[in-house]
Assembly symmetry: C2
Homo-oligomer: 342 residues x 2
């Protein structure tokens, strides 16, 4: 009988347990543990695992695959605690939102012959809490980052990959460093920005007026702030350097926009329409070809697809502006030729 | 027969027409105009107004109340055009997202005896376009800012106020200057931030990877970018100074957060939990008393309400930290007393 152990039976760990049970793996038992008694009871009651163990060591004893779904800050101690009970060939993975620190802890604590493959499912509602909100389908169709440590064995990687596939998620391999850089940009920075936007206005003298004036934009832009602050804190603390890097870049971008507002209205408009069209393409999944990053930011307003996504008046305006830009470009070329540079 | 004129029969103007028609005002005809033929036809077909006029002047001829629901950039010319046709005692209002510039144009172009009362309904979906998406209930329960110009007559203010109430909206008076400051903070800055976040990542070398890694947070935080860029541009251009002011303050806030990440985890956690609890109070409408801005930012974690909004583990952590802070405070006080300062 093969054994899969899940340590941490909250929203994420519970969903993994339910998803793996629903997959009805042959000759496999799923054993869980949580250091919170109420969580152990809830997992048992909801049949999220086949068996609830009495300690982390009991849970991982004889397991071929161990999944840590605990808060990231608890991971170092936990790895140290389970290390003696792990068998040769075992694969250990986790679900935390940053990977470099945890890979370092794994390398410090895990014995030779045990492989660590960092994992990060991009699924779930930031404000969800506890196994009551867990679902076996939470990861279906969602991306799941995998960062195998350099010493991980092929069979251990395959074992974690198998779990991701059983849960219906789309695996995506990145090194721990790449992962932390990318995720800091698309996930941790937006979290920081959301909280900073709310905190700045909440602390300013005009707050009650600001609060009363706030419409849907402000509510939605500050909503990400409502996730569990323990998680937000741990993200910020375990991926600090990358988050700071992106804050710095974002400050540069904001200053660029500040200066742009001093330019002609046409330039501001071209910037905002480029952003809108590129965003519509992004939401439509049409912007994900490998060369997209290298494309110029001028909206491709003549394409039918873009026309369908934007209003007719806007389409007309963008078309005219694009035409004007092309004419200026031609004129510039013509002059260049006259000056003998063409 | 009293006359109300609506110039601009798009999403907002159409909704005003439909709402006023639904109110079945006695002895009142609602006349509309749009310089786009398709919009005139659609308004007629959808009975958004009682009558479609052939020109802005024809529409406002004899009207006691004139509502401009056109893009802000068109307002100056439009005011100049309709001025000769406006009767003494007429009230003119608008629906643009900034007020100082438009109040200035009104003061330049409108004759004596005609009152300008700036208006700004905080309603509607930024990506909605055209009268097809209009609804008579669009403004129901929503805030509607009113900024009467200094020379506006009481009866003209009452006339605009009456319209706002017929539409079911909640009027809120602010001077044009106050309006532009507040709205730049809660609405224009979030728009700029949303676009800047998308643009920065879209333009960076790692884009295709960033796009693939993006989860719900990034999608929602950058969604406000998908409004009509003409509107976004005009907001930025007509309220530039205030938007730049808030960009500067936001850069200061981001740098504060950047430095906070270098502090102890406990401090980061206290900051994020204060933000979360205050945000929950804000969403619950419980944070809007006039003194709220002056309150300290330490979460009131002992209150039942806060406990209901946050998870039990978090509640416990905040409670412990608050207790620790109180003990430190007591210790400080006790020391103060020993030193003769208490």
């Amino acid at each position: 009988m093969a054994r899969i152990a899940i340590i941490g039976l909250g929203y994420i760990g519970g969903s993994i347990g339910m998803g793996l049970r629903a997959a009805k793996l042959r000759d496999t038992e799923i054993v869980g543990f949580d250091d919170w008694r109420a969580a152990r009871r809830a997992a048992d009651k909801q049949d999220a695992v086949d068996q609830v163990a009495g300690s982390p060591r009991d849970a991982v004893d004889g397991a071929g695959l161990v999944i840590l779904a605990t808060p990231p800050a608890a991971t170092s101690e936990l790895l140290e605690e389970i290390a003696p009970a792990l068998g040769r060939g075992a694969a250990v993975t986790d679900t935390a939102a940053s990977k470099v620190k945890i890979e370092g802890w794994a390398s410090n604590h895990l014995p030779n012959g045990v492989s660590f493959i960092g994992g990060h499912p991009m699924a779930g509602d930031a404000s969800a809490f506890g196994i009551d909100q867990s679902s076996p389908d939470l990861f279906r169709g969602k991306r799941w980052f995998l960062s195998p440590s350099p010493s991980a064995s092929d069979s251990a990687v395959k074992s974690v990959l198998g779990m991701v596939r059983e849960l219906g998620a789309a695996p995506h391999f990145l090194s721990a460093e790449e992962h932390d850089y990318v995720v800091a940009g698309v996930s941790h920075l937006p979290l920081v920005v959301s909280t900073a936007l709310f905190t700045m206005l909440r602390r300013s003298d005009g707050w009650p007026d600001f609060g009363r004036a706030a419409g849907e934009t402000f509510r939605a832009m500050t909503a990400y702030n409502s996730g569990d602050p323990s998680t937000t804190t741990e993200i910020a603390v375990t991926n600090k350097e990358q988050v700071q890097h992106w804050i710095d870049r974002f400050v540069v971008e904001l200053n660029r926009v500040r200066n742009l507002l001093d330019e002609e209205e046409e330039q501001v408009f071209m910037e905002y329409s480029a952003a809108q069209i590129n965003h519509a393409k992004f939401l439509g999944g049409d912007d994900m070809d490998p060369d997209a990053g290298a494309q110029p930011d001028i909206p491709d307003a003549t394409s039918q697809m873009a026309a369908l996504l934007i209003s007719p008046r806007l389409y007309d305006r963008v078309r005219k502006m694009t035409k004007r830009s092309e004419e200026r470009e031609k004129e510039r070329e013509a002059r260049g030729r006259r000056w003998g540079r063409g």
